[in-house]
Symmetry: C2
Subunit: 410 residues, 2 copies
């Protein structure tokens, strides 16, 4: 008897008909002999509607009360799914994050899971029940306050719960068929990957692949829980994210991200501590930094550029200008019309020609590169927002991922 954790997002639970389809899926998994824990998001647009209601009564809603508000969403979807299963004679029980023992820190709206107790979940499984757990939410054990996990929280709940319960795998049901070598809406011959290692999936997620959030992949990697990303609309295999003995692809896939903006601090005096002053202030204000690029200095000064989520741009600009004045930098420029394209593949570690081929490919397509950032298994370039589709298409055509064994740059 194995234990499977299945996670369904809001689209998969949008109305009564979809909830019944989810119940079908759970029922057939049980018939195959598995114990099932289901993690649910709020139905369809519920979270957006609740956020809109809060915006009607306040410009600056209390984070503690926002969590109280938003956590109502999963309570509705989990109860409806449990009602559906019970009325078919399948014993089921739903638990809030708090009831399931999902313990978090106290950061309302972006809480981190610290531990999962899962006592009631285990007891109910032992009684032969399907257990439905609210995704996206938990409780701070010290203050007893309800918290929410922020973006991608339900995926993180599912994978962390699978780790805590020793589940054999976790299935993330979504409205696409799996993880693709590039966005299929952009690249017509993008391929679904059968398998991808955790490290590469992390880079794709960080690079903007929305199908699975980095937090969930991190839990999967840390606790070695295989993640199966698959369609909620049909039974076909999706993509397995796991450590695998397979030959490493040079390029597994291409991700892109249009949600960021670029900030440049010009002519920063080149002395110790200036970067610390800048990024320390930004971190203190809760601004998430993605890429940071600083080049060698000339004439005792340098330029520092970084990217932030567009939602943080106003804060980031304000803080950058304050710090720029304090450290005697010349000026601050901001640019919201950028996009990031990332090429990911563990095999590029041993293929030094990949970066060069990326730059050549973009140059041939007439696309200017504004920032470059690399890791051992990723190359990211910031380009004009208008160029991103052409960049993804050109790179996909040049590298044809998943490109295994292929010599590049030769």
């Amino acid at each position: 008897m194995s234990l499977v954790v299945q996670k369904f997002g809001g689209t998969s639970l949008a109305d009564a008909a979809r909830i019944k389809a989810v119940a079908d899926r759970v029922e057939s998994t049980r018939r195959e002999g598995h114990d099932v824990v289901v993690v649910v998001s709020a139905m369809g647009a519920t979270t957006d509607q609740l956020v809109a209601l809060a915006a009607e009564v306040s410009d600056d809603p209390s984070p503690r009360e926002m969590d109280m508000l938003l956590s109502a969403g999963e309570r509705i979807s989990m109860a409806l799914l449990s009602i559906t299963l019970n009325s078919r004679g399948i014993p089921a029980v739903s638990f809030t994050g708090s009831q399931a023992g999902i313990l978090t820190d106290s950061s309302h709206g972006s809480a981190k899971i610290l531990d999962i107790q899962g006592t009631r979940v285990r007891d109910s499984l032992a009684q032969g029940r399907v257990v439905i757990v609210a995704g996206f939410q938990g409780v701070d054990p010290e203050s007893k306050e309800i918290t929410t996990l922020g973006r991608g929280g339900s995926d993180a709940t599912a994978v962390a719960l699978a780790a805590a319960l020793g589940a054999d795998s976790v299935e993330i049901y979504t409205d696409v068929d799996g993880v693709f070598t590039a966005d299929p809406r952009m690249v017509s011959d993008a391929m679904k990957l059968e398998e991808i290692p955790f490290d590469e999936m992390l880079e794709l997620s960080a690079g903007g692949a929305g199908v699975l959030m980095s937090r969930a992949v991190e839990f999967g990697r840390r606790y070695e829980v295989p993640i199966h990303v698959r369609s909620s609309f049909h039974d076909g295999e999706g993509t397995w994210v796991r450590e695998s003995p397979m030959e490493q692809a040079i390029v597994s896939g291409i991700a892109h991200d249009r949600s960021e903006a670029k900030v440049t601090v010009n002519r920063v005096p080149d002395r110790p501590g200036v970067a610390a002053a800048l990024f320390g202030s930004l971190a203190a204000a809760g601004v998430n930094i993605d890429m940071i690029v600083q080049n060698v200095s000339h004439d005792g000064s340098t330029d520092i550029s970084f990217t932030v989520p567009r939602a943080n741009l106003v804060d980031a600009e304000r803080i950058a200008k304050q710090v720029a004045a304090e450290i005697d930098a010349e000026s601050v420029d901001v640019d919201a019309e950028i996009a990031k394209v990332s090429l990911v593949g563990a095999g590029m570690k041993s293929h030094p020609g990949v970066a060069a081929k990326v730059f050549e490919t973009l140059a041939s397509a007439g696309i200017n590169i504004e920032m470059i950032s690399t890791s051992t298994i990723r190359i990211s370039c910031v380009v004009r927002a208008d160029d991103v589709e052409a960049a993804v298409q050109a790179l996909h055509a040049a590298f044809d991922p998943p490109a295994i064994y292929e010599e590049v740059g030769a």
Copy 2:
């Protein structure tokens, strides 16, 4: 410094504008120097919408999961009200029934409040906060399961919480101006009562006056918490429900109820135990009985009639027919086209002519009385449903409540 508990129903919280109006009310109460605890229902039609969703997925939803589902409603309204107050600089915090320590028995859908701990409520009040508590919901301390209190539950939460906290009074905000001598939609010269004792309010509530549910009145009486029933739309005084030294009215008001149906078991053998068999079986099936009438027997048999909520009629008929067969009764008749009209007034205890005047008044209006049931302060008559408006009007004209000092039946 006094403590006031204010309860707002779904209509008063139907949208963002109404929630802001409730916040105005809370703000002005605080400005008058009171500590405030607010008890809220779910917004507008939320509960009906959730019930409808459950009906889409199941004909027979799990009561445990229905409570999980419905308790999401108050979570939304309380968080939104708290967000509104906090954004105005009024420190506020919302608590679920469970967080407020509202301990109930385990009857999902119709739980009874056993105790209120209120630790977090008291602590937050001591910190100078407005405390917002979800009405209608609690937690079974043994199983840790969420429960709901059923019909009228939010009023009961408010009065019980006021009792537990030692509040000076509880204000029930509603869409009418207070408690009237009869339904103003039926009787144009119906008067708003300034004051009514708990006993009489209990009889009016039991007689169908929807403005305040019996359960809340019972808590008020038991713990001597004055209840102020008042309009959420203006500042005027409503009706105070409390023990009062005032001269007792002969007739305080007239209530009516169209929600019941009548069941008659014909020619029941007149021997000990038959009533016990009948009503024991009905109670075991959870059928609520209101009036019971059994007359003297002739020829060794009698007829037993009783009224039940129309929603219970199918169950009541089935059970009555089973029991009728077992006890050799002749037949069972059911009638859903009835209504009940009740005349309530503590003064009628000392005025024996009231009952006679009721029957004369209805007879003069050409209205047939099908069942009669009395208490020391109430006379209830079952009439045809079509006759109820005429009955209320005739009785109101004849008794002119609140009729103080007036001699009747003279």
